[in-house]
């Protein structure tokens, strides 16, 4: 569907050169929700803007359905852009037009027949749940409602792909949830492929099938959300995953504990999170586990539980307990103190 091949982007301001993207390649399959996560300045915004050539890559190809956008003529590019909807952090609505006009105007400008415009606007305003607000101006809407209008505007173009540039970053948690649900519905019911970027792990967890992690202009890790969540490899990914799980135990506490036993983190997926592992190892082995931190995250496909525990006991016994846990498909990792 969307394929970025060796995309690089360098911004030159005066004599200063900033490499925003360094040789990034990724492929988004039809029908999936692909999220790129990164801290600000990681280059993710430049990346998504390359997907519809709002930003022209310095090098590399941007292919949509096998067609390289960078080689298209202006008029062809405009046509192809009709297949790619986009929503933004700050909604980008016309302030001087009503909700209805905001959705209808781009259709008028793209020469959609009149009767069809009305049909489409009504249909998509209904999907985003704003048919009541048709004649209201954006200034009278909340942030979440504005984003709904923007989503309706993008959907009314009947695109195959939706690009989401930090669409929930300016919204409060409740509103974020409702917008994420809407995006999920758009993906499932309308079959629209979604490519999103975010700095919020929550967004990735809840709606994405696959995730890429960006750091200093490079895509440092990529995979299914579950894999990346349970077996994060790159330090940057681990930062995201562990920060979120509140695995921040003060160093002084860690030091004290590692003197009396081993500090390990346990990760278990789906069904496994219902098993009483700790009780089992206490019974089977001569170890005393104590929980320092933990929680269960609901991912789109499954749930993932994480525990940070301290295992006290004879070194050999602890080793056997760990082997037992691993045999139960729990990922056990030593936590550095």
């Amino acid at each position: 569907m969307i394929e970025l091949k060796n995309v690089s982007k360098t911004f030159t301001t005066g004599k200063k050169k900033v490499e925003a993207l360094k040789d990034v390649s990724l492929k988004i399959n039809k029908g999936e929700i692909y999220g790129v996560i990164g801290f600000s300045g990681a280059g993710k915004s430049t990346l998504i803007r390359c997907a519809n050539l709002l930003e022209r890559p310095t090098e590399g190809e941007v292919c949509i359905d096998g067609v390289d956008l960078t080689k298209l003529k202006k008029s062809q590019l405009r046509k192809t852009r009709g297949k790619i909807g986009m929503i933004f952090q700050h909604f980008n609505l016309l302030t001087t037009a009503t909700v209805y006009e905001n959705v209808a105007r781009p259709l008028k400008l793209s020469k959609v027949p009149k009767h069809e415009i009305k049909e489409r606007v009504d249909k998509y305003l209904k999907i985003v749940g704003l048919e009541e607000k048709k004649h209201v101006y954006p200034a009278q809407l909340s942030g979440g409602q504005k984003q709904r209008v923007a989503i309706a505007r993008a959907l009314a173009q009947e695109p195959e792909v939706l690009l989401s540039d930090e669409a929930t970053s300016a919204l409060d948690p409740n509103t974020t949830s409702s917008i994420l649900e809407l995006l999920l519905r758009v993906n499932k019911e309308l079959g629209i492929t979604i490519f999103l970027i975010t700095h919020e792990l929550d967004v990735i967890q809840r709606i994405c099938d696959r995730v890429g992690v960006m750091h200093h202009g490079e895509l440092v890790e990529e995979g299914s959300v579950i894999d990346v969540f349970t077996k994060p490899e790159h330090p940057q990914t681990r930062k995201f995953v562990f920060d979120e799980a509140n695995f921040q135990v003060p160093d002084s506490v860690k030091k004290g504990l590692s003197a009396t036993g081993r500090l390990v983190s346990l990760t278990f997926i789906g069904e496994a999170s219902n098993e009483p592992f700790l009780a089992a190892i206490t019974k089977k082995f001569d170890v005393v586990p104590s929980i320092l931190a933990g929680g269960i995250d609901q991912l789109k496909a499954s749930s993932v539980g994480k525990l940070l525990i301290h295992l006290q006991g004879d070194a050999a016994e602890v080793e056997r307990a760990i082997s037992y846990l691993e045999a139960q498909h729990v990922t056990v990792e030593e936590v550095a103190s």
């Binding site: 519809n52 709002l54 590019l77 405009r78 046509k79 192809t80 852009r81 009709g82 790619i84 909807g85 986009m86 933004f88 700050h90 909604f91 980008n92 609505l93 016309l94 302030t95 001087t96 037009a97 105007r105 781009p106 400008l109 793209s110 101006y137 954006p138 200034a139 923007a150 505007r153 993008a154 173009q157 690009l163």
Partner: protein, 221 residues
């Protein structure tokens, strides 16, 4: 007393009033026709604009700055030969339109430029991302979103233009300014001058109020 004053000066004042309106109206219309497209071109050709063109931008930018540095009274005399060559006369309303336009059009271009620059770049980008052409974006997004600020700018330009028409009296264009100068100053009829001033104050107030009301109506945020 008022009746007496009006029988003596009424026709002169009414005629001068219409002359002022005529000069202002015609020059404003022509100046908008030149200034608005120029403003759009400035925005488009500037660095990062939709049709970035450094050469065009710097030439137009410099010309506008040069014209805008010349005080109107000097521009008026400077342009006398050109007016005579182009229009055939340098007196009356016809004779003063050219200098008024040369004075006002660059000003309007600047005002329009700054109004258009205020439009949220994100909205423009959103429309670009939907594959909508630049010309349509200019009409349906940029001008539309900027219209309130543009009206306020045009109000400022109109009021400046009314002031300039008063000076145009010096080259025999007629109008309220001419009346105040000819009779009020040269022939010691201060009352005529006061009345003209009051009329000008009302005119300017009315223009500003009209501009504000229109701008407020068009603004929806």
């Amino acid at each position: 007393m008022i009746a007496e004053f009006w029988t003596e000066w009424g026709t002169d004042i009414t005629e001068a009033f219409w002359q002022t309106l005529l000069m202002t109206g015609i020059s404003l219309a022509i100046s908008i026709l030149i200034g608005l497209p120029l403003g759009i071109l400035l925005v488009m050709t500037r660095k990062g604009g939709q049709a970035e063109n450094r050469v065009f931008y710097s030439i137009v930018n410099t010309i506008i700055n040069i014209i805008r540095s010349i005080p109107f009274i000097i521009l008026l005399f400077l342009l006398l030969p050109l007016t005579r060559a182009l229009i055939g006369t340098t007196i009356g309303v016809e004779g003063v339109i050219l200098p008024l336009v040369v004075y006002t059009a660059p000003y309007i271009a600047r005002l329009m430029e700054s109004a258009l620059l205020e439009v949220n770049k994100g909205v423009i980008e959103a429309y670009e991302s939907m594959g909508i052409s630049t010309s349509k974006i200019i009409w349906s997004v940029i001008l539309r979103e900027a219209r309130s600020t543009m009206i306020l700018g045009l109000t400022i330009a109109t009021i400046g233009l009314i002031g300039a028409t008063a000076m145009a009296g010096l080259v025999g264009a007629g109008g309220l300014g001419d009346l105040a100068y000819q009779y009020g100053h040269l022939r010691f009829e201060p009352v005529v001058m006061y009345v003209v001033i009051i009329i000008l104050i009302i005119l300017v107030q009315a223009m500003q109020t009209l501009g504000n009301v229109l701008a407020r109506r068009l603004r929806k945020d």
